[in-house]
């Protein structure tokens, strides 16, 4: 693995050309049927999800969407979902359980959106319900952190039997900027924050938060997306097969999270 500092990895994880959920769906799945809307009030484009075939078998796939250009970025709110997005995700998770198919999620978000409407519609409740629902879901769940795993907004889709990280993906309790601002009242010390936060893939593997790390090409995933797609595909297939062999999906998932940090 290439030696990058934590701050460099944060920059790579946020790189505009980095493959996102939509790219992975295109590359790894076929017959994708997109499901829109939370059935309550809104469609939130920062969460992309639906049903697709993965190596010929139906799966539910859900992920954060940031968008590829400014117009898309704005439509997707730069990958920061509101409660509607998390309620759409919940709808898809329930559907997966009903039709007995595995869930594969792709995580790439700076965090859940901190806004007026998001608060009024219960951002906290939406995330909490996602966590509770996923934790007890009786089908295999595999999560891939492809870019930024920002805070509760990322975790809401990552209560999985296996959490796979890309080599330069990051996953943290808060963005380094927010972290520096809370602890040191100075958001410009984000590089320093990134170092102490232990948010890189090797750190997370050591801490038991990540189960596997997928290597990236020299310079980052955006330089050779095809290679990344096939490596991610291999890892998902391998982990999914293991999870299915182990069975007791909800029980094992519970125990996995029960152990972390102790």
């Amino acid at each position: 693995m290439a030696e990058y500092t934590a701050a460099q990895r944060v920059a790579l994880a946020r790189h505009a050309g980095r493959p996102g959920t939509a790219d992975y769906i295109c590359a790894l799945f076929t017959d994708f049927f997109e499901c829109r809307g939370d059935r309550q009030c809104k469609e939130d484009e920062s969460i992309l999800g639906g049903v697709a075939l993965y190596h010929g078998r139906p799966v539910t796939v859900v992920g954060h969407r940031k968008g590829k250009n400014l117009t898309e970025n704005l439509k997707c709110n730069f990958g920061m979902p509101g409660p509607e997005g998390y309620r759409k995700a919940q709808r898809l998770f329930r559907q997966a359980e009903k039709f007995d198919r595995p869930v594969i999620t792709f995580i790439d978000t700076p965090g859940a959106y901190p806004g007026l409407e998001a608060e009024a519609r219960g951002q906290g409740e939406a995330i909490a319900s996602c966590l509770a629902l996923l934790s007890g879901l009786n089908v295999p769940v595999v999560a891939v952190v492809t870019g930024e795993g920002g805070s509760g907004g990322a975790l809401a889709l990552a209560v999985a039997n296996r959490v796979i990280l890309l080599e330069n993906a990051v996953y943290s309790v808060l963005s380094p900027e927010g972290f520096a601002s809370i602890l040191w009242k100075d958001s410009s010390r984000s590089a320093e924050a990134a170092e102490v936060m232990k948010l890189t893939a090797p750190d997370l593997l050591r801490l038991g938060v990540a189960d596997a790390v997928v290597p990236e090409p020299e310079g980052g995933a955006h330089l050779d997306p095809e290679a990344v797609f096939s490596a991610v595909d291999r890892e998902i297939a391998r982990q999914l097969a293991r999870v299915e062999r182990e069975g007791r999906f909800a029980q094992n998932r519970y125990e996995k999270f029960r152990r972390i940090g102790l």
Binding site: E125, G136, G152, V173, V209, G261
Partner: protein, 295 residues
């Protein structure tokens, strides 16, 4: 030597100062009477501590609910002599070797007398056994690290095993930054434990108190079968400052307060502190006989 009282000491110091050619005002005045009066941060009213204690730390002039410590909260809630603390000694190592964290925790332990930001206990309310978890905002903002998450999870698992209702008072700034990603994982762990409690048919009453934000709002605190809040409590996912910075405008009055959440459908009832015990007791009574048998 006999202890001289404050005015004697002051008189002696004034005399000394005068001889040195100084002024009387250089002599320290009486220290602010912290222990005797409480000032309301909302309306500024100064209330004698004895009155404040009798009013359960609710400001008599504006109704502001002062944040209170976990043990005080439990003493207001539980029948006398029924309190049994659970996992009292449980603490978590500084896994990330975060600089300064050990000292900060030590200072919090000294100033609060708590080992961690949550107290879990078994006790009785009107003779009904319950399991309680109370977060204490005086301990590092009531933030949730591994120890807090573990204690809450154990309390929920205990509730699953015994069938006792779980009552949880939140007061927290969210996940504890110093334990990084491990704090975030506590959101998943606690939510999973509460999902199991729900699955097992257990009763969980969640009470929001001032202030509850971040990862605590976005996990166990929002998963109650019944959700209560104290009047005026700040409850939200993102903190007000973060929202203001993000949207670049001032937040409207009353935003993210308990009344706002009630209006938007996220709280069952707002209950003043003086009525919390009886309200919870009523809920317990309503769940005593297990309704319809599922056929």
């Amino acid at each position: 030597m006999e202890q001289e009282n404050f005015s004697q000491r002051r008189a002696r110091l004034i005399e000394l100062q005068r001889r040195r050619g100084g002024k009387e005002r250089d002599v320290p005045k009486r220290r602010p009477a912290k222990a005797v009066f409480g000032k309301c941060p909302q309306c500024g009213a100064v209330t004698p501590k004895s009155t404040l204690v009798r009013a359960l730390y609710v400001c008599p002039s504006c109704g502001y609910h002062h944040p209170i410590g976990a043990y005080l909260r439990l003493s207001m809630l539980l029948d006398s002599h029924s309190f049994r603390e659970l996992d009292e000694k449980l603490v978590a190592p500084n896994v990330l070797d975060f600089p300064g964290y050990d000292d900060k925790r030590k200072a919090a332990r000294r100033s609060t007398g708590l080992n961690e930001a949550v107290v879990t206990a078994r006790g009785k309310i009107d003779s009904r056994t319950v399991i309680c978890a109370v977060l204490d905002s005086q301990f590092m903002m009531g933030s949730m690290g591994v120890a807090v998450g573990e204690k809450i999870t154990r309390a929920a698992e205990y509730a699953v095993r015994t069938g006792y209702p779980l009552i949880l008072f939140s007061a927290s700034g969210g996940a504890r930054m110093q334990e990084g990603i491990l704090s975030l994982m506590q959101m998943a762990k606690t939510s999973a434990a509460l999902a199991r409690l729900s699955q097992a048919g257990g009763l969980y009453i969640s009470v929001f108190t001032h202030p509850t934000t971040g990862g605590v709002t976005a996990s166990f605190a929002s998963l109650g079968d019944y959700t209560l809040a104290e009047p005026g409590a700040l409850i939200g996912f993102a903190g007000p400052r973060v929202i203001e910075q993000t949207i670049g405008q001032k937040l409207p009055d009353g935003f993210q307060r308990a009344e706002f959440l009630l209006e938007h459908g996220f709280v069952d009832q707002i209950v003043p502190r003086a009525r919390l015990r009886e309200t919870i007791s009523r809920l317990l009574r309503l769940h005593e006989k297990g309704g319809v048998r599922r056929g």
